[in-house]
């Protein structure tokens, strides 16, 4: 019995020892495995962070110029992390076997949102404005940013010319603007933007039609234009030309960097002579020299001296300068005289016919009931239709009556004509809807004696 117990005790001890050993070994293995897994997870995490950081780096070209035969670039960090530029590659892409150089150990730091200016000034290379280059910068994390800078005629820009006015009076100045738009995807920037002198051709030619540059183009040039942006140049010219002279303006950028743009404008002679005053100053023209009046003498008289307190009728010629539309004259049109120094005025309404006579002239009321409406009895043709000059009579005391009106007592008067009407297409009847029109045609001065 004792031996049996001893054997069992030893076995138990042995089993226990082995179990403990197995457990220790097993736990060690499990612990080691977990540790390995943890380390691997850590490496994966680090790798993920690196990859994420790489995607958060972004460098953009904000400006570039060639200063002292070296690039002068402004780079902006638009990413979310500080970047360190460690290397740059510059390639001459214009020449067939253009050079390709690397520049090491740059170590240029740019904070997020920050800019690196004058980049390229310390690179030992000679940059020319008539050559194109590809500049690649490499960051410490491995991001590369490539900027294509075009010079010479390698990249075409789009230009557009605009004139400040489509028509210009002779002797006036006009501003010509050249808009330069960079929408060429082949280049991130184009350097040395300078316009050619504008070529202005008048038609018809001749010494009477001239365009003289006032000052110089403003600005003279731009150092560069970045993709997606716009620049403008302006010229001011003094234009002299005969009426309706066409001026064709053509312009482009130097070194054939752009298309040839074109714009036209026309000269218009502006004068205040009786023959063309209305052309430039209003639709209806009043021919002052045709002004006449009649009172009690049975005759039409010219001049400005009217007899006081007498029935008076007046007439004057109108010309309609509307090219396409006739003017139908309203019954409210009147010749009005204001007596100087008083509040008195005297309105002589439009009449159909006025006949001089003694002791008074006779008038026909400004009525025309058939066809309706009983208004717009007088038509002044459009200028294209011809016969657009009409003598208009005034004399009625009220609209559409035959009662004569008297001029006032002795004094000086200033007169003006209130013309009302409507413009309708030349061949439309007087019932047309038309465009309502009113014009005050000054000034006639008379003296009542």
């Amino acid at each position: 019995m004792h031996g049996n117990r001893r054997q069992k005790g030893i076995s138990t001890i042995l089993v226990s020892v082995f179990m403990i050993a197995v457990i220790i070994v097993g736990l060690g293995a499990v612990s080691w495995g977990l540790n390995v897994q943890n380390k691997q997870g850590q490496v994966i995490k680090e790798r993920t962070v690196i990859e994420t950081d790489l995607n958060r780096e972004r460098i953009e070209l904000r400006d570039v110029s060639v200063v002292g035969s070296k690039f002068n670039m402004t780079l902006v960090n638009t990413g979310m992390l500080p970047v360190k530029i460690v290397r740059a590659w510059v390639t001459n892409t214009t020449d067939t076997n253009g050079w390709h150089k690397q520049y090491d150990n740059l170590n240029k730091l740019i904070n997020p949102g920050g800019a690196l200016t004058n980049f390229g000034q310390d690179l030992p290379l000679i940059a020319k404005t008539d050559k194109s280059y590809e500049i690649k910068v490499v960051t410490e994390r491995g991001t590369t940013a490539i900027f294509k800078i075009a010079g010479g005629s390698d990249a075409k820009l789009h230009v557009r010319l605009m004139a400040s006015q489509a028509t210009i009076p002779t002797g006036q100045r006009i501003t010509i603007t050249m808009l330069v738009m960079h929408n060429n995807t082949l280049a991130d920037a184009v350097v040395n933007i300078e316009p050619e002198t504008l070529n202005i051709t008048p038609n018809p030619g001749g010494s009477l039609n001239t365009a003289t540059l006032v000052g110089s183009v403003n600005p003279a040039k731009y150092s560069s234009i970045i993709y997606g942006s716009t620049r403008s140049f302006t010229w001011v010219y003094e234009i002299n030309g005969q009426n309706n002279t066409q001026f064709n303006v053509q312009g482009q950028l130097k070194e054939s960097k752009s298309n040839i743009a074109s714009v036209d404008f026309y000269t218009r002679t502006v004068s205040f002579a009786s023959s063309d005053y209305a052309t430039n100053a209003g639709v209806l023209w009043l021919n002052y020299t045709t002004f006449q009046f009649t009172q009690d003498t049975g005759q039409w008289k010219t001049g400005w001296d009217l007899a006081a307190n007498k029935n008076t009728t007046l007439k004057i010629d109108f010309i309609n300068n509307n090219k396409t539309h006739a003017l139908w004259v309203s019954k409210f049109s009147a010749f009005v005289f204001d007596r100087v120094g008083t509040a008195n005025d005297y309105a002589f309404y439009i009449t159909n016919i006025t006949n001089p006579g003694t002791p008074d002239p006779t008038i026909t009321a400004y009525t025309c009931p058939n066809p309706a409406p009983n208004d717009y009895c007088l038509k002044i043709n459009s200028s294209d239709a011809g016969n657009n000059k009409v003598t208009v009579h005034f004399g009625a005391k009220n609209e559409q009556t035959t009662e004569l009106n008297k001029i006032g007592p002795i004094n000086r008067y200033q007169g003006y004509i209130l013309m009302f009407g409507k413009f309708c297409p030349q061949n439309d009847p007087k019932s047309c809807n038309g465009i309502q029109y009113g014009q005050n045609l000054p000034f006639i001065a008379i003296e009542v004696v």
């Binding site: 042995l14 293995a29 490496v43 590659w89 491995g142």
Partner: protein
């Protein structure tokens, strides 16, 4: 063996002698059994531990390789197609990781615009090299020249791009397409 089951010769001396004899045998056999079990157990334990250590070492190596492969990071920083000397492609590789990498193989293939091999003949349109001295330390770069590869064809579109594949000693692969101007 149970002593009680032995034949019954019931003399006092005989019984005493027999008991003495039986006690020694039991002890001896017990000792032998215990020793055998302990020895066998120890052998098994040592073998298991040894095997585990070997396996741990293997796994540790695999782990080290895998994590180092994961930590490898490099870019093809620049590709320059050289005409002098002709038919050269110069690759600049930058190690942007924090451990050194060793370039084991560089494979360059000229492709048409439809992605098929651009040519056959000489010089070939595909070239594979195993560069020597190709260890790139962390944050450093190395230029590798791939010679005798046709990358230019006067007919537009005949060679549209280069398919570049770089493989490291640890098995990392960097692949890029470079458009030929």
């Amino acid at each position: 063996m149970n002593v009680d089951s032995l034949p019954t010769v019931r003399t006092r001396d005989h019984i005493r002698f027999r008991r003495k004899k039986l006690g020694i045998g039991t002890v001896v056999s017990s000792v032998i059994m215990v020793a055998a079990v302990a020895m066998l157990g120890s052998v098994v334990l040592i073998w298991a531990n040894s095997s585990l250590n070997v396996e741990k070492t293997r796994i540790a190596n695999d782990y080290a390789n895998n994590t180092n492969t994961l930590r490898e990071s490099f870019i093809i920083e620049d590709v320059w197609l050289s005409t002098s000397p002709a038919n050269y492609v110069n690759l600049t590789i930058r190690n942007v990781g924090d451990i050194a990498v060793k370039i084991k193989e560089v494979n360059v293939t000229s492709l048409k615009s439809d992605g098929t091999l651009a040519c056959t003949g000489s010089p070939p349109c595909t070239q594979k090299i195993n560069p020597s001295n190709s260890v790139i330390e962390s944050k450093q770069s190395l230029m590798i020249a791939v010679a005798s590869i046709k990358w230019y064809d006067p007919t537009p579109g005949n060679i549209n791009s280069l398919d570049i594949t770089i493989t490291t000693e640890r098995g990392s692969i960097e692949k890029m397409f470079w458009k030929v101007r």
